[in-house]
């Protein structure tokens, strides 16, 4: 028996099931091949047809999202999306989840998540210049939360800092629905020359396939969970389920790839992410309309005795697959060797659309590319509104007693980890490297300049899963609206977004219902605000103790500032400035942080939104910033008006500034202060600019109300709150650290 045959055990129903394939799917494979697959082929199908690679449960619904717009150069379907930012430059970006690995080993899981998204971006010819991270953890007092939080944050910093890409913002939210299933979504943006964009395409029959980067080990092979007879216990033990990140190698890979991209030898390139060599080769061949052929014994290995199955399915990090022009092999190698990296020809592009892998000359895999990609199963899974939903949405405000001391409530909210300053997190991330950072983390959106131009880019990540749980459609709309609003607050016009959709099991009808509602909401939000989706990622099977997490779409949006020097930050600047509220406050308390923190309730419906009003408010803010009359701008989000005002006073890097506010809305004081009505922005302006601001709001049709004046050492909201800003600041800024001591 040859070495290749020895590693091909016979398939049993158990082996098939343990590969996550249904009987029906297996029959489909047999049909596509015209024969039974061998063990290695089964492995290849199982990863390519997995939810993660094939999007089989989400594909149909994702088609609803608008993906076109004037700035879009590349929509979904490539390694990352691309938008035009003018001047011959393009912004390349994507968000991706790394939830399960981060739960198993928080540091390495989060670190390798960052590594993966960086590769998705530089594989397209872009130099990464900014990252974001969106994090969800269980209840703060859950025994594992602290360990997971510390590990994840250290891992994100450990990787991103070492590669030299600044991490400029993100989200951090705690809710018990994430107790055993945290979410770690990582986003990266890079800048490329429009003319030098690379895609994952295997073209040119006979062109070499070149493997570059780290050696292949047994990391992350799906089979780790599999109780197959194929491997002795010993072999199983040698397969770690956790991948360890090597940011130094990533940095070398990044520099070497960018150097290579400046030359004229590259045809296509793709990182080896999930499903490793298999999916990168198959996807490149599918896009190129070609086939691929490998000699697996040429793949650089870290460990002895690896089987073809393991080599094809390994998810070792920091590796890329290139298609180079025939004859340029030596040039490619010399560039990679200069950076101390392996570059090995492991195969070539072929005619005929076959995925062929040889091992020491013997064929071990022979599958039509089509069968792996376009012919992968697609499902319309049943969707059903969950039974208890009406009950959850019911909220009788009359039964909720208004607290006596609203000042104490404000302090309680500022102390809530969901609202408190996230400085403990972003202090661990390098946010200066590359010397572009104009607005560092802590504002509504981060702003970087584009060197060599007057322009800037703004970045934000948003998504409130409590809203989505209580009304997934509205939650989807609000995620898009809030992201766009955060961009408006710094003065940026949205160009496009990347979304990460984190949900429970798609095999549960109520999860599919949530998913379809969220996607429809996001679609309407995107259409209403004119923002296309250019890339994204779906993560299903996020369940905690058998119960799905709250539906959690994360929207990472990128905007352009024509003049970066005009950008605005959220905090008050000078005593005497007027405080103005754009937008309207309604008596809405459903789904609010206030209800949860003060009354222990997750109930009601999320705040109402009307996209025309939302758009009007955002336009006003943008216009006013363009005219240079806005001294500060901050949107009202979790915690409502009172929290937003407090953040304007205390959120800045300099000394806190007070304000004196008077509002005369006819409604419950708690709703007025802590309700989360949407489409509201607090701006501060010089008194003499009020007329000009009114002109703008009048034209755009947005409500404007002067609510107070900046100054003093206290935040006074007449007649119910009077608090020294220093005290508010100390509560808000020390909350996380105090809890983590």
């Amino acid at each position: 028996m040859s070495q290749a045959e020895r590693s091909q055990p016979l398939l049993t129903p158990e082996i098939i099931a343990s590969h996550g394939l249904s009987e029906e799917e297996y029959q489909k494979i047999v049909k596509a091949l015209g024969r039974e697959p061998n063990y290695t082929e089964l492995g290849v199908f199982s990863v390519m047809w997995s939810e993660h690679c094939s999007y089989k449960s989400s594909k149909r619904l994702l088609k609803l999202l608008p993906t076109e717009g004037p700035a879009v150069l590349q929509g979904p379907g490539e390694n990352a999306g691309i938008v035009d930012i003018g001047g011959g430059l393009a912004a390349v970006f994507k968000i991706e989840s790394h939830n399960h690995p981060s739960f198993i080993e928080p540091y390495q899981g989060a670190a390798t998540g960052v590594g993966g998204i960086l590769r998705d971006v530089f594989t397209m010819g872009a130099r990464p210049i900014a990252s974001l991270n969106s994090l969800r953890f269980g209840a703060f007092d859950h025994p594992r939360t602290r360990y997971l939080l510390c590990g994840v944050v250290a891992g994100i910093g450990g990787y991103g800092n070492c590669v030299g890409v600044p991490t400029l913002g993100g989200e951090l939210f705690f809710d018990e629905c994430y107790n055993s299933n945290i979410l770690v979504n990582a986003f990266t943006l890079g800048i490329a020359k429009k003319k030098r964009i690379f895609r994952g395409r295997a073209k040119g029959i006979g062109n070499p396939l070149i493997y570059v980067g780290a050696k292949t080990g047994r990391d992350g092979i799906h089979g780790a969970t599999m109780a197959s007879e194929a491997f002795s216990d010993e072999a199983e033990k040698r397969r770690p389920t956790v991948q360890v990140g090597d940011p130094f190698t990533e940095k070398l890979l990044l520099e070497a790839c960018l150097e290579l991209m400046d030359k004229d030898c590259l045809v296509g390139i793709q990182d080896m992410g999930a499903a490793g060599l298999t999916s990168s080769a198959a996807e490149m061949a599918a896009r190129g309309g070609t086939g691929v052929e490998f000699e697996l014994s040429l793949v650089p290995l870290r460990e002895k005795g690896m089987t073809p199955y393991e080599i094809l399915l390994s998810e070792s990090q920091e590796r890329m697959l290139l298609v180079a022009k025939k004859g340029s092999e030596e040039e490619v190698k010399s560039i990679f060797n200069r950076w101390d990296l392996d570059a090995v020809v492991v195969g070539r592009v072929t005619r005929g659309g076959l995925f062929r892998a040889l091992f020491h000359g013997q064929e071990v895999v022979r599958i039509p590319i089509e069968a792996l990609t376009s012919a992968a199963p697609v499902y319309s899974r049943p969707a059903e509104r969950p039974e208890g939903h009406d009950e959850a949405q019911k909220l009788d405000l009359r039964k909720i007693q208004e607290p006596d001391d609203l000042g104490a409530v404000l302090k309680q909210l500022l102390d809530s980890p969901n609202i408190a300053s996230k400085e403990w997190v972003y202090r661990q991330y390098d946010h200066f490297v590359r010397s572009n950072t104009v607005v560092a983390p802590g504002a509504d959106a981060a702003v970087i300049r584009i060197k060599g131009t007057d322009k800037g880019l703004a970045l934000t990540a948003d998504g409130n899963s409590r809203y989505c749980y209580l009304d997934p459609y509205v939650g989807g709309v609000l995620a898009v609206a809030e992201a766009a609003r955060n961009l408006a607050c710094v003065g940026a016009h949205p160009l496009g977004l990347s979304d990460c959709l984190n949900f429970g099991s798609p095999e549960k009808p109520e999860v599919m219902w949530q998913f379809s509602q969220v996607v429809q909401g996001m679609r309407d939000g995107c259409v209403g605000l004119g923002v296309p989706v250019v890339s994204g990622n779906v993560s299903f099977y996020n369940e905690t103790d058998g119960r799905p997490i709250h539906p959690t779409p994360v929207v990472a949006m990128v905007g352009l500032l024509p003049k970066v020097a005009r950008c605005v930050t959220p905090w008050f600047k000078t005593a005497g400035d007027l405080v103005v509220l754009l937008g309207r406050t309604r008596e809405e308390l459903g789904a609010s942080e206030y209800l949860r923190v003060v009354h222990g309730l997750v109930k009601g419906t999320p705040p109402w939104i009307d996209l025309a009003s939302e758009r009007a408010v955002q336009q006003c803010c943008l216009r006013a910033i363009e005219r240079g009359i806005v001294r500060s701008a901050h949107d009202v989000s979790e915690g409502g008006l009172a929290v937003a005002l407090a953040e304007c006073c205390i959120g800045g890097p300099e000394k806190a500034l007070g304000a004196r506010i008077e509002t005369h809305e006819m409604m419950r004081a708690d709703a007025l202060l802590f309700g989360e009505s949407q489409s509201r922005i607090i701006v501060s302006i010089k008194e003499r600019d009020l007329g000009r601001l009114r002109e703008i709001t009048g034209k755009e049709g947005a409500p404007l109300r002067v609510i107070g004046v900046v100054g003093g050492t206290r935040l006074i909201i007449q007649p119910v709150i009077q608090a020294p800003v220093d005290e508010l600041k100390s509560i808000w800024s020390s909350s996380l650290e105090r809890r983590l001591k």
């Binding site: 080990g217 047994r218 990391d219 770690p240 991948q243």
Partner: protein
């Protein structure tokens, strides 16, 4: 410092990465040793070395406690193995001298 209960020793604990787990640190050190001319070096693996003083009633108890500490805190069972040794066995006083606080 606690009162001596009889069995006071210094433990040495070694934490190393499980076989098969990528060890970027070890790899980097190995490469650097090679470039410094130590070609004869192979298979470099980096780990942690922890010394602790323990003061308990018996050796069995001390070992059991150390094992527990390793599993709960000192080693990350997902990617690391641990091992420990007793430095020496002297009466409490000796160990007290070596302790820091």
């Amino acid at each position: 410092m606690q009162l001596g209960l009889g069995f006071a020793v210094r433990f040495k604990i070694f934490i190393s990465l499980k076989e098969g787990v990528l060890d970027p640190q070890g790899k980097a050190v190995e490469r650097s040793l090679h470039s410094l001319g130590y070609q004869e070096v192979q298979g470099v693996r980096m780990g942690k070395y922890i010394e602790v003083n323990l003061d308990l009633a018996s050796r069995q108890e001390a070992e059991a406690r150390i094992r527990e500490m390793c599993e709960r805190l000192l080693a990350n069972p997902v990617i690391e193995d641990y091992r420990f040794e007793i430095e020496d066995e002297k009466p409490s006083a000796a160990s007290k001298n070596r302790a820091e606080s």
